[in-house]
Protein backbone atom coordinates (compact mmCIF):
# COMPACT_ATOMS: atom_id res chain seq x y z
CA UNK A 1 0.00 0.00 0.00
CA UNK A 2 1.28 3.42 -0.95
CA UNK A 3 1.49 5.71 2.08
CA UNK A 4 1.24 9.48 1.81
CA UNK A 5 2.01 11.67 4.80
CA UNK A 6 0.29 15.03 4.37
CA UNK A 7 0.32 16.09 8.00
CA UNK A 8 1.06 19.73 8.65
CA UNK A 9 -0.51 20.79 5.37
CA UNK A 10 -3.65 22.91 4.96
CA UNK A 11 -6.33 22.53 2.24
CA UNK A 12 -5.90 22.09 -0.67
CA UNK A 13 -2.28 20.83 -0.25
CA UNK A 14 -3.10 17.26 0.96
CA UNK A 15 -5.30 16.70 -2.11
CA UNK A 16 -2.56 18.03 -4.39
CA UNK A 17 0.05 15.80 -2.79
CA UNK A 18 -2.20 12.76 -3.15
CA UNK A 19 -2.90 13.67 -6.76
CA UNK A 20 0.79 14.15 -7.57
CA UNK A 21 1.76 10.86 -5.91
CA UNK A 22 -0.87 8.90 -7.79
CA UNK A 23 0.11 10.53 -11.07
CA UNK A 24 3.71 9.58 -10.52
CA UNK A 25 2.93 5.99 -9.71
CA UNK A 26 -0.58 4.61 -9.79
CA UNK A 27 -1.34 2.32 -6.92
CA UNK A 28 -4.34 0.09 -6.30
CA UNK A 29 -4.35 0.94 -2.62
CA UNK A 30 -3.27 4.05 -0.82
CA UNK A 31 -3.16 5.36 2.73
CA UNK A 32 -3.19 9.12 3.26
CA UNK A 33 -2.42 10.60 6.67
CA UNK A 34 -3.56 14.15 7.46
CA UNK A 35 -3.97 16.06 10.71
CA UNK A 36 -7.44 17.58 10.40
CA UNK A 37 -10.97 16.45 9.56
CA UNK A 38 -11.45 18.87 6.65
CA UNK A 39 -8.37 17.56 4.84
CA UNK A 40 -9.48 14.03 5.54
CA UNK A 41 -12.85 14.63 3.89
CA UNK A 42 -11.24 16.44 0.96
CA UNK A 43 -8.84 13.57 0.34
CA UNK A 44 -11.76 11.16 0.59
CA UNK A 45 -13.67 13.15 -2.06
CA UNK A 46 -10.59 13.24 -4.28
CA UNK A 47 -9.94 9.50 -4.05
CA UNK A 48 -13.61 8.74 -4.71
CA UNK A 49 -13.53 10.99 -7.78
CA UNK A 50 -10.62 8.84 -8.99
CA UNK A 51 -12.57 5.61 -8.60
CA UNK A 52 -11.30 4.53 -5.18
CA UNK A 53 -13.43 3.12 -2.42
CA UNK A 54 -12.53 4.76 0.84
CA UNK A 55 -12.51 4.07 4.56
CA UNK A 56 -11.86 6.77 7.16
CA UNK A 57 -10.00 6.14 10.40
CA UNK A 58 -8.68 8.20 13.25
CA UNK A 59 -5.66 7.47 15.47
CA UNK A 60 -5.30 10.12 18.17
CA UNK A 61 -4.25 13.25 16.24
CA UNK A 62 -3.93 11.50 12.87
CA UNK A 63 -6.77 11.29 10.39
CA UNK A 64 -6.44 8.49 7.84
CA UNK A 65 -8.05 7.86 4.50
CA UNK A 66 -7.54 4.39 3.11
CA UNK A 67 -8.42 4.03 -0.54
CA UNK A 68 -8.65 0.87 -2.60
CA UNK A 69 -9.24 0.70 -6.29
CA UNK A 70 -10.64 -2.47 -7.91
CA UNK A 71 -9.15 -1.71 -11.29
CA UNK A 72 -5.41 -1.29 -10.89
CA UNK A 73 -4.78 -0.12 -14.42
CA UNK A 74 -7.38 2.49 -15.06
CA UNK A 75 -9.17 4.26 -12.25
CA UNK A 76 -12.49 5.60 -13.40
CA UNK A 77 -13.98 8.89 -12.47
CA UNK A 78 -17.20 7.97 -10.80
CA UNK A 79 -18.89 10.89 -9.13
CA UNK A 80 -22.35 9.41 -9.08
CA UNK A 81 -23.82 12.90 -9.19
CA UNK A 82 -26.08 11.94 -12.08
CA UNK A 83 -27.44 8.90 -10.33
CA UNK A 84 -27.97 10.78 -7.12
CA UNK A 85 -29.68 13.60 -8.96
CA UNK A 86 -32.21 11.14 -10.37
CA UNK A 87 -32.92 9.50 -7.04
CA UNK A 88 -36.35 10.15 -5.55
CA UNK A 89 -37.53 10.81 -2.03
CA UNK A 90 -40.08 8.11 -1.36
CA UNK A 91 -42.35 8.30 1.64
CA UNK A 92 -44.20 5.16 2.72
CA UNK A 93 -47.23 5.70 4.91
CA UNK A 94 -48.73 2.75 6.81
CA UNK A 95 -52.19 3.51 8.16
CA UNK A 96 -52.76 -0.11 9.18
CA UNK A 97 -50.89 -3.05 10.65
CA UNK A 98 -52.50 -5.40 8.10
CA UNK A 99 -51.95 -5.37 4.37
CA UNK A 100 -55.18 -5.39 2.39
CA UNK A 101 -58.63 -6.62 3.43
CA UNK A 102 -59.97 -10.12 3.99
CA UNK A 103 -58.06 -12.48 6.18
CA UNK A 104 -56.45 -10.70 9.14
CA UNK A 105 -53.83 -13.35 9.70
CA UNK A 106 -52.76 -13.21 6.08
CA UNK A 107 -52.87 -9.41 6.21
CA UNK A 108 -50.39 -9.35 9.11
CA UNK A 109 -48.11 -11.85 7.42
CA UNK A 110 -48.09 -9.74 4.26
CA UNK A 111 -47.39 -6.59 6.23
CA UNK A 112 -44.40 -8.17 7.96
CA UNK A 113 -43.12 -9.41 4.64
CA UNK A 114 -43.70 -5.99 3.07
CA UNK A 115 -41.70 -4.13 5.71
CA UNK A 116 -38.88 -6.64 5.52
CA UNK A 117 -38.69 -6.33 1.75
CA UNK A 118 -38.91 -2.56 1.80
CA UNK A 119 -35.14 -2.19 2.14
CA UNK A 120 -34.89 -3.19 -1.51
CA UNK A 121 -35.93 0.37 -2.29
CA UNK A 122 -32.45 1.41 -1.21
CA UNK A 123 -31.64 5.02 -0.44
CA UNK A 124 -34.72 6.31 -2.20
CA UNK A 125 -36.77 5.25 0.79
CA UNK A 126 -36.80 8.52 2.70
CA UNK A 127 -39.51 8.42 5.34
CA UNK A 128 -41.54 5.64 6.87
CA UNK A 129 -44.66 6.99 8.57
CA UNK A 130 -47.03 5.07 10.82
CA UNK A 131 -50.53 6.34 11.58
CA UNK A 132 -53.79 4.89 12.95
CA UNK A 133 -53.50 1.10 13.48
CA UNK A 134 -50.08 1.25 11.82
CA UNK A 135 -48.52 2.58 15.04
CA UNK A 136 -49.02 -0.89 16.58
CA UNK A 137 -46.12 -2.08 14.42
CA UNK A 138 -43.74 0.16 16.37
CA UNK A 139 -44.48 -1.04 19.91
CA UNK A 140 -42.98 -3.81 22.02
CA UNK A 141 -44.00 -7.26 20.83
CA UNK A 142 -44.30 -6.14 17.19
CA UNK A 143 -43.06 -8.79 14.80
CA UNK A 144 -41.18 -6.22 12.73
CA UNK A 145 -39.67 -4.25 15.60
CA UNK A 146 -36.14 -5.50 14.90
CA UNK A 147 -36.51 -4.73 11.21
CA UNK A 148 -37.69 -1.21 11.94
CA UNK A 149 -34.85 -0.65 14.41
CA UNK A 150 -32.49 -1.84 11.72
CA UNK A 151 -33.97 0.75 9.34
CA UNK A 152 -33.51 3.46 11.89
CA UNK A 153 -29.90 2.46 12.56
CA UNK A 154 -29.21 2.70 8.86
CA UNK A 155 -30.38 6.30 8.90
CA UNK A 156 -33.90 6.03 7.50
CA UNK A 157 -36.33 8.24 9.34
CA UNK A 158 -39.32 6.59 10.97
CA UNK A 159 -42.18 8.84 12.09
CA UNK A 160 -44.92 7.62 14.40
CA UNK A 161 -48.18 9.55 14.87
CA UNK A 162 -48.42 10.85 18.43
CA UNK A 163 -52.18 11.36 18.34
CA UNK A 164 -52.64 7.73 17.31
CA UNK A 165 -50.33 6.37 20.03
CA UNK A 166 -52.23 8.45 22.51
CA UNK A 167 -55.59 7.24 21.24
CA UNK A 168 -54.61 3.58 21.67
CA UNK A 169 -52.85 4.38 24.94
CA UNK A 170 -49.55 3.13 23.52
CA UNK A 171 -47.36 6.22 24.05
CA UNK A 172 -45.23 4.41 26.62
CA UNK A 173 -44.90 1.28 24.53
CA UNK A 174 -43.46 2.78 21.36
CA UNK A 175 -39.99 1.25 20.78
CA UNK A 176 -38.85 2.77 17.53
CA UNK A 177 -39.12 6.00 15.51
CA UNK A 178 -39.77 9.62 16.28
CA UNK A 179 -43.17 10.70 17.59
CA UNK A 180 -44.64 13.09 15.08
CA UNK A 181 -47.62 15.31 14.36
CA UNK A 182 -49.84 16.02 11.38
CA UNK A 183 -47.86 19.13 10.40
CA UNK A 184 -44.71 17.01 10.04
CA UNK A 185 -46.57 14.43 8.03
CA UNK A 186 -48.09 17.02 5.70
CA UNK A 187 -44.75 18.80 5.21
CA UNK A 188 -43.02 15.48 4.50
CA UNK A 189 -45.74 14.60 1.96
CA UNK A 190 -45.17 17.88 0.19
CA UNK A 191 -41.40 17.45 0.11
CA UNK A 192 -41.55 13.79 -1.00
CA UNK A 193 -41.48 12.91 -4.68
CA UNK A 194 -43.69 9.92 -4.15
CA UNK A 195 -46.00 8.90 -1.31
CA UNK A 196 -46.98 5.25 -1.07
CA UNK A 197 -50.03 4.53 1.07
CA UNK A 198 -50.59 1.13 2.63
Amino acid sequence: MREIDARGLACPAPVLQTKATLQEEHSGSVKVIVDNAASQQNVQRFLESQGFQTVLEQNSADYLVIGTCGDHQQPQAQPSVEEEADAKNIMVMCATDRMGFGDDELGLKLMVNFLRTLKEMGRELWRLVFVNNGVKLTIDGSEVLDDLKDFENKGYKILVCGTCLNHFNLLERKQVGETTNMLDIVTAMQVADKVINI
Binding site: P12, L16, N42, Q44, R45, T187
Partner: protein, 316 residues
Protein backbone atom coordinates in the same frame (compact mmCIF):
# COMPACT_ATOMS: atom_id res chain seq x y z
CA UNK B 1 -22.34 37.90 28.08
CA UNK B 2 -24.52 40.94 28.57
CA UNK B 3 -24.14 43.47 25.78
CA UNK B 4 -24.51 47.15 26.56
CA UNK B 5 -27.39 48.89 24.83
CA UNK B 6 -29.50 52.02 24.94
CA UNK B 7 -32.92 53.05 23.75
CA UNK B 8 -31.64 54.26 20.38
CA UNK B 9 -30.01 50.96 19.43
CA UNK B 10 -32.27 49.44 16.79
CA UNK B 11 -29.95 46.55 15.95
CA UNK B 12 -27.17 45.73 18.41
CA UNK B 13 -24.80 42.90 19.21
CA UNK B 14 -27.51 40.81 20.82
CA UNK B 15 -29.25 40.47 17.46
CA UNK B 16 -26.08 39.52 15.55
CA UNK B 17 -27.36 41.02 12.31
CA UNK B 18 -25.31 42.14 9.29
CA UNK B 19 -24.58 45.56 10.79
CA UNK B 20 -25.41 47.69 13.81
CA UNK B 21 -28.18 50.30 13.52
CA UNK B 22 -28.49 53.35 15.76
CA UNK B 23 -31.38 55.82 15.69
CA UNK B 24 -30.35 59.49 15.40
CA UNK B 25 -33.83 60.96 14.90
CA UNK B 26 -37.32 59.76 14.00
CA UNK B 27 -36.42 59.62 10.33
CA UNK B 28 -32.70 58.83 10.40
CA UNK B 29 -30.63 55.93 11.68
CA UNK B 30 -26.93 55.15 11.26
CA UNK B 31 -25.75 51.78 9.97
CA UNK B 32 -22.23 50.76 10.95
CA UNK B 33 -20.18 47.77 9.93
CA UNK B 34 -16.54 46.65 9.65
CA UNK B 35 -14.89 43.80 7.78
CA UNK B 36 -11.29 42.94 6.87
CA UNK B 37 -9.37 39.88 5.75
CA UNK B 38 -6.17 38.46 4.27
CA UNK B 39 -5.77 38.50 0.46
CA UNK B 40 -8.11 36.22 -1.44
CA UNK B 41 -6.77 37.03 -4.91
CA UNK B 42 -3.17 37.65 -6.07
CA UNK B 43 -3.82 40.97 -7.78
CA UNK B 44 -3.63 43.78 -5.18
CA UNK B 45 -5.91 46.17 -7.10
CA UNK B 46 -8.66 43.54 -7.35
CA UNK B 47 -8.15 42.56 -3.72
CA UNK B 48 -8.85 46.18 -2.75
CA UNK B 49 -12.02 46.23 -4.82
CA UNK B 50 -13.29 42.94 -3.40
CA UNK B 51 -12.60 44.02 0.19
CA UNK B 52 -14.57 47.23 -0.38
CA UNK B 53 -17.50 45.49 -2.12
CA UNK B 54 -17.59 43.01 0.76
CA UNK B 55 -17.60 45.69 3.48
CA UNK B 56 -20.28 47.75 1.72
CA UNK B 57 -22.50 44.72 1.32
CA UNK B 58 -23.56 44.64 4.99
CA UNK B 59 -25.07 48.12 4.66
CA UNK B 60 -27.01 47.11 1.55
CA UNK B 61 -28.25 43.98 3.31
CA UNK B 62 -29.78 46.15 6.06
CA UNK B 63 -31.72 48.16 3.47
CA UNK B 64 -29.44 51.19 3.87
CA UNK B 65 -27.34 53.53 1.75
CA UNK B 66 -23.58 53.59 2.50
CA UNK B 67 -22.10 57.08 2.79
CA UNK B 68 -18.58 57.06 4.27
CA UNK B 69 -15.77 54.58 4.83
CA UNK B 70 -12.45 54.25 6.69
CA UNK B 71 -9.56 51.98 5.76
CA UNK B 72 -8.12 49.30 8.04
CA UNK B 73 -4.65 48.22 6.95
CA UNK B 74 -2.12 45.74 8.35
CA UNK B 75 0.97 45.70 6.15
CA UNK B 76 4.33 43.84 6.27
CA UNK B 77 6.28 46.94 5.31
CA UNK B 78 9.68 45.22 5.61
CA UNK B 79 8.84 42.36 3.27
CA UNK B 80 6.56 43.98 0.77
CA UNK B 81 6.86 46.93 -1.56
CA UNK B 82 4.64 49.86 -0.67
CA UNK B 83 3.36 49.97 -4.25
CA UNK B 84 1.33 46.85 -3.38
CA UNK B 85 -0.44 48.74 -0.64
CA UNK B 86 -1.02 51.68 -2.95
CA UNK B 87 -2.75 49.41 -5.46
CA UNK B 88 -4.92 47.81 -2.78
CA UNK B 89 -6.06 51.18 -1.50
CA UNK B 90 -6.65 52.43 -5.05
CA UNK B 91 -8.88 49.38 -5.63
CA UNK B 92 -10.82 50.22 -2.48
CA UNK B 93 -11.21 53.88 -3.41
CA UNK B 94 -12.39 53.05 -6.93
CA UNK B 95 -14.97 50.59 -5.65
CA UNK B 96 -16.19 53.13 -3.06
CA UNK B 97 -16.47 55.74 -5.82
CA UNK B 98 -18.60 53.36 -7.87
CA UNK B 99 -20.87 53.04 -4.82
CA UNK B 100 -20.97 56.80 -4.24
CA UNK B 101 -19.15 56.42 -0.92
CA UNK B 102 -16.26 58.62 0.23
CA UNK B 103 -13.18 57.44 2.08
CA UNK B 104 -12.66 59.83 4.98
CA UNK B 105 -9.89 58.23 6.98
CA UNK B 106 -8.35 55.05 8.23
CA UNK B 107 -5.58 53.47 10.23
CA UNK B 108 -2.64 51.24 9.40
CA UNK B 109 -0.29 49.08 11.46
CA UNK B 110 2.74 46.95 10.67
CA UNK B 111 1.99 43.24 10.73
CA UNK B 112 3.57 40.02 9.49
CA UNK B 113 0.56 39.26 7.36
CA UNK B 114 -1.19 41.63 4.97
CA UNK B 115 -4.78 42.47 5.88
CA UNK B 116 -7.14 45.00 4.40
CA UNK B 117 -10.73 45.99 4.97
CA UNK B 118 -13.01 48.88 5.72
CA UNK B 119 -15.39 50.25 8.26
CA UNK B 120 -18.47 51.60 6.49
CA UNK B 121 -21.18 53.94 7.72
CA UNK B 122 -24.55 54.30 6.03
CA UNK B 123 -28.02 55.65 6.65
CA UNK B 124 -31.50 54.21 6.70
CA UNK B 125 -34.99 55.22 7.81
CA UNK B 126 -35.48 53.69 11.27
CA UNK B 127 -38.77 52.10 10.19
CA UNK B 128 -37.25 50.57 7.06
CA UNK B 129 -34.41 48.55 8.57
CA UNK B 130 -34.27 45.11 6.94
CA UNK B 131 -33.45 42.62 9.67
CA UNK B 132 -32.48 39.00 9.17
CA UNK B 133 -35.12 37.13 11.07
CA UNK B 134 -38.36 38.80 9.97
CA UNK B 135 -39.23 36.04 7.50
CA UNK B 136 -42.96 35.51 6.97
CA UNK B 137 -44.66 32.23 6.09
CA UNK B 138 -45.38 32.13 2.37
CA UNK B 139 -42.45 34.42 1.48
CA UNK B 140 -40.21 33.42 -1.38
CA UNK B 141 -36.41 33.50 -1.05
CA UNK B 142 -34.38 35.18 -3.79
CA UNK B 143 -30.57 34.93 -4.17
CA UNK B 144 -28.71 37.48 -6.30
CA UNK B 145 -25.25 35.94 -6.95
CA UNK B 146 -24.17 32.37 -7.78
CA UNK B 147 -22.51 30.26 -5.08
CA UNK B 148 -19.10 28.60 -5.17
CA UNK B 149 -16.50 31.39 -4.82
CA UNK B 150 -14.81 29.71 -1.82
CA UNK B 151 -14.36 26.45 -3.69
CA UNK B 152 -13.11 28.19 -6.83
CA UNK B 153 -10.64 30.22 -4.73
CA UNK B 154 -9.34 26.93 -3.28
CA UNK B 155 -8.98 25.56 -6.81
CA UNK B 156 -7.11 28.74 -7.81
CA UNK B 157 -4.71 28.15 -4.90
CA UNK B 158 -4.31 24.59 -6.13
CA UNK B 159 -3.46 25.87 -9.59
CA UNK B 160 -6.44 24.03 -11.06
CA UNK B 161 -8.67 26.89 -12.20
CA UNK B 162 -8.40 28.33 -15.69
CA UNK B 163 -7.48 31.99 -16.25
CA UNK B 164 -11.00 32.63 -17.56
CA UNK B 165 -12.63 31.19 -14.48
CA UNK B 166 -10.27 33.11 -12.19
CA UNK B 167 -11.19 36.31 -13.96
CA UNK B 168 -14.91 35.56 -13.85
CA UNK B 169 -14.92 34.80 -10.13
CA UNK B 170 -12.75 37.82 -9.30
CA UNK B 171 -15.26 40.10 -11.03
CA UNK B 172 -18.15 38.35 -9.32
CA UNK B 173 -16.63 38.95 -5.86
CA UNK B 174 -15.86 42.58 -6.73
CA UNK B 175 -19.36 43.32 -7.98
CA UNK B 176 -21.43 45.53 -5.69
CA UNK B 177 -24.74 44.50 -4.18
CA UNK B 178 -25.87 48.12 -4.65
CA UNK B 179 -28.10 47.63 -7.68
CA UNK B 180 -29.73 44.51 -6.22
CA UNK B 181 -30.38 46.40 -2.97
CA UNK B 182 -31.84 49.43 -4.77
CA UNK B 183 -34.26 47.25 -6.70
CA UNK B 184 -35.16 45.18 -3.65
CA UNK B 185 -36.32 48.29 -1.78
CA UNK B 186 -39.07 48.89 -4.36
CA UNK B 187 -40.73 45.61 -3.36
CA UNK B 188 -42.49 44.13 -0.34
CA UNK B 189 -39.30 42.72 1.18
CA UNK B 190 -39.51 41.38 4.75
CA UNK B 191 -35.96 40.24 5.54
CA UNK B 192 -32.52 40.26 3.96
CA UNK B 193 -28.95 39.21 4.62
CA UNK B 194 -25.80 38.90 2.53
CA UNK B 195 -24.03 35.60 1.95
CA UNK B 196 -20.44 35.52 3.21
CA UNK B 197 -18.31 33.23 5.36
CA UNK B 198 -21.04 30.93 6.71
CA UNK B 199 -22.17 29.93 3.24
CA UNK B 200 -25.75 29.97 1.99
CA UNK B 201 -27.04 27.44 4.53
CA UNK B 202 -25.14 29.04 7.43
CA UNK B 203 -26.59 32.47 6.75
CA UNK B 204 -30.01 31.00 6.08
CA UNK B 205 -29.78 29.17 9.40
CA UNK B 206 -29.11 32.53 11.08
CA UNK B 207 -32.26 33.89 9.47
CA UNK B 208 -34.36 30.88 10.47
CA UNK B 209 -33.02 30.38 14.00
CA UNK B 210 -35.31 32.29 16.34
CA UNK B 211 -37.67 33.30 13.53
CA UNK B 212 -40.39 30.75 14.36
CA UNK B 213 -40.61 29.52 10.77
CA UNK B 214 -38.99 26.89 8.56
CA UNK B 215 -37.82 27.09 4.95
CA UNK B 216 -37.65 24.82 1.96
CA UNK B 217 -34.76 25.23 -0.47
CA UNK B 218 -34.90 23.99 -4.05
CA UNK B 219 -31.32 22.93 -4.76
CA UNK B 220 -32.01 22.46 -8.47
CA UNK B 221 -32.85 26.15 -8.84
CA UNK B 222 -29.75 27.34 -7.01
CA UNK B 223 -27.45 29.58 -9.02
CA UNK B 224 -23.99 27.96 -8.76
CA UNK B 225 -20.69 28.38 -10.57
CA UNK B 226 -20.69 25.12 -12.57
CA UNK B 227 -16.97 24.49 -12.07
CA UNK B 228 -17.45 24.70 -8.28
CA UNK B 229 -19.44 21.46 -8.40
CA UNK B 230 -16.60 19.70 -10.23
CA UNK B 231 -13.97 21.02 -7.82
CA UNK B 232 -16.12 20.02 -4.83
CA UNK B 233 -16.33 16.45 -6.10
CA UNK B 234 -12.52 16.45 -6.30
CA UNK B 235 -12.08 17.51 -2.68
CA UNK B 236 -11.10 21.12 -3.29
CA UNK B 237 -13.22 22.48 -0.46
CA UNK B 238 -12.02 25.20 1.92
CA UNK B 239 -11.91 24.00 5.53
CA UNK B 240 -14.61 26.58 6.33
CA UNK B 241 -17.15 24.62 4.30
CA UNK B 242 -16.79 21.68 6.70
CA UNK B 243 -17.00 23.95 9.74
CA UNK B 244 -20.17 25.55 8.38
CA UNK B 245 -21.67 22.12 7.85
CA UNK B 246 -20.77 20.81 11.28
CA UNK B 247 -22.15 23.93 12.99
CA UNK B 248 -25.59 23.91 11.33
CA UNK B 249 -26.17 20.29 10.32
CA UNK B 250 -28.80 19.67 12.98
CA UNK B 251 -31.13 22.29 11.50
CA UNK B 252 -30.89 20.95 7.97
CA UNK B 253 -32.60 18.01 6.29
CA UNK B 254 -31.33 16.98 2.84
CA UNK B 255 -33.42 14.96 0.43
CA UNK B 256 -31.58 11.92 -0.94
CA UNK B 257 -31.43 13.35 -4.41
CA UNK B 258 -29.33 16.32 -3.30
CA UNK B 259 -25.87 15.22 -4.44
CA UNK B 260 -22.96 15.60 -2.02
CA UNK B 261 -21.21 18.11 -4.26
CA UNK B 262 -24.36 20.28 -4.26
CA UNK B 263 -24.52 20.10 -0.46
CA UNK B 264 -20.86 21.14 -0.37
CA UNK B 265 -21.55 24.23 -2.49
CA UNK B 266 -24.47 25.18 -0.23
CA UNK B 267 -22.03 25.26 2.73
CA UNK B 268 -19.21 26.94 0.79
CA UNK B 269 -17.99 30.15 2.48
CA UNK B 270 -18.48 33.07 0.10
CA UNK B 271 -16.49 36.26 -0.24
CA UNK B 272 -18.71 39.22 -1.06
CA UNK B 273 -21.63 36.94 -1.94
CA UNK B 274 -25.09 37.98 -3.04
CA UNK B 275 -28.13 39.17 -1.12
CA UNK B 276 -30.61 36.61 0.17
CA UNK B 277 -34.00 38.29 0.12
CA UNK B 278 -37.29 37.18 1.69
CA UNK B 279 -40.11 38.73 -0.35
CA UNK B 280 -43.91 38.43 -0.32
CA UNK B 281 -44.94 35.62 -2.69
CA UNK B 282 -47.12 37.83 -4.90
CA UNK B 283 -44.13 40.06 -5.67
CA UNK B 284 -41.39 37.47 -6.00
CA UNK B 285 -41.67 37.02 -9.78
CA UNK B 286 -41.66 40.76 -10.35
CA UNK B 287 -38.57 41.12 -8.13
CA UNK B 288 -36.65 38.42 -10.00
CA UNK B 289 -37.69 39.99 -13.31
CA UNK B 290 -36.57 43.46 -12.23
CA UNK B 291 -33.22 42.12 -10.97
CA UNK B 292 -32.60 40.18 -14.18
CA UNK B 293 -33.56 43.20 -16.28
CA UNK B 294 -30.93 45.21 -14.40
CA UNK B 295 -28.25 42.73 -15.48
CA UNK B 296 -28.15 40.76 -12.23
CA UNK B 297 -28.54 37.71 -14.35
CA UNK B 298 -27.83 34.88 -11.92
CA UNK B 299 -30.75 35.86 -9.72
CA UNK B 300 -33.06 32.99 -8.82
CA UNK B 301 -35.98 32.10 -6.61
CA UNK B 302 -34.36 29.42 -4.48
CA UNK B 303 -36.88 28.63 -1.78
CA UNK B 304 -39.91 29.46 0.30
CA UNK B 305 -40.80 30.13 3.91
CA UNK B 306 -43.03 27.53 5.61
CA UNK B 307 -45.40 27.99 8.51
CA UNK B 308 -43.64 25.45 10.68
CA UNK B 309 -42.34 26.54 14.09
CA UNK B 310 -39.59 23.90 14.18
CA UNK B 311 -37.09 26.22 12.47
CA UNK B 312 -35.85 23.58 10.04
CA UNK B 313 -34.24 23.97 6.64
CA UNK B 314 -35.48 21.37 4.17
CA UNK B 315 -33.26 21.08 1.11
CA UNK B 316 -34.89 19.22 -1.75
Amino acid sequence: MVFPTDENVIVGLDRADDAGVYKISDDLALIQTVDFFTPIVDDPYWFGQIAAANALSDVYAMGGIPKTAMNLVAFPVKQMDLSVLRQIIQGGIDKLAEAGVVLIGGHSIEDKELKYGLSVTGIVHPARVLAKKSLRPGDRLVLTKPLGTGIVNTAIKAGMASADLTDKVTRLMASLNRDAAGIMLRFDVHACTDITGFGLLGHLAEMVYGSGVSVRIFSDRMPMIPEALEFAAMGLLPAGAYKNKEFRESMIDFGHRVARSVQDVLFDPQTSGGLLISVGSDQSDALVKALSAAGISDTAKIGEVLEDPKEKIWVV
